[in-house]
Symmetry: C2
Subunit: 212 residues, 2 copies
């Protein structure tokens, strides 16, 4: 299958290539398509759909260009939900602590310090990452896999250098480590994004096997 | 898994029981829960999510009542999209031709006659059914399978008595029959709803197999 990703992030592209090795995965930039979407949705799912829908007009050309019988657009939206903060920062995870409503994003290390400070008096430190992953197929077909990863906000950032974003302060009790302490393979096995990818892949396989 | 359906339609319940034989499937009425949702969404998916979200508060009690480790709410929204009508009636399929904006629904036979009349001068009769099926799981997990069934609007209703709604005027070229001419098993094999159920089932199985 030809898959057109609704992101120009090469890290996400390579991660999906490892999860869907049999598919032909390209970013908009690699297809010569401009891609810039305002994330105005109120949920992870709504934002993932906004990103995917922005590329819908390119479904037909992606099929023609790739000479594939099937073609899909895949988009995702992710974030961290902290229970003591009522689920915040949630869909605003990237702009948490931004001095200007999101135009300028804080560095991840500054966001992590801010989050730890916000939880200083909190009675619970439980949190979960969420990843909403959407595949748009031709003929109005859609698949969504939204998965979560349960953990706790640590009292100090880990020294681990894996992952990115909130990973150094996301402690996973079952593993006894933060997300930043995991190898990429370990992280993919447990993470919200790895899980969502695998559920989506299983659904895509089933969809491809159905009689048309 | 305990599955709480976002419908009191016994026909839909029985259909899902045949597709998910290993699960314990109940309607809101069977759990003593009132269920009435206004379908104000602008897409099949939005309406399916509205129905499922209306039951979200009952996830925890469904688990307690069923003594199941896992519990899901499943909702669906379906309709017929006719190309010559710009995709109508779509999400308004049940209220097509209603004299009062949907408060009173026409009988299916009257709607079918109206649809045939609307296509009298149409250059193309292609159409597709869409079914958007949503599963809400605990911890913000969501699975969606939206599938379609491609066909044409026939020039007269078939005499077949299978199915319901638009089935007598939905002709499937590959089968040489309308949806109303199919046995329930044949219809489940090809229909938008049967397909969406199977894709959802595959995704649910994968989700259940992931490490938590």
């Amino acid at each position: 299958m030809r898959i057109l990703l609704a992101t120009n992030n090469a890290h996400k592209r390579d991660e999906l290539r490892s999860i869907f090795p049999d598919h032909d995965i390209l970013t908009p930039a690699e297809m010569g398509i401009a891609f810039d979407v305002e994330e105005t949705g109120e949920t992870f799912l709504a934002n993932a759909i906004l990103k995917a829908e922005a590329l819908r007009v390119h479904l037909a050309e992606a099929r023609a260009e790739g000479k594939h019988a099937e073609v899909a657009i895949i988009a995702d939206d992710s974030g961290l939900c902290v229970d003591a903060l009522g689920g915040a920062p949630g869909i605003y995870s990237a702009r948490f602590g931004s001095p200007d409503g999101g135009k300028t994003e804080l560095a991840a290390s500054a966001r992590n310090q801010l989050l730890i400070a916000a939880l200083e008096a909190a009675k619970t430190r439980t949190a979960h990452f969420v990843c909403s992953m959407v595949a748009l197929l031709e003929n109005d077909r859609i698949i969504v896999a939204q998965e979560s990863w349960m953990g706790e906000i640590s009292e100090a950032p880990s020294a681990g250098t894996g992952g990115f974003g909130y990973d150094p302060v996301f402690f996973v009790p079952g593993l006894g480590k933060t997300a930043a302490d995991l190898s990429p393979e370990e992280k993919n096995r447990f993470s919200h994004r790895g899980r969502a990818s695998r559920v989506l892949a299983a659904a895509l396989d089933e969809a491809a096997s159905l009689p048309r």
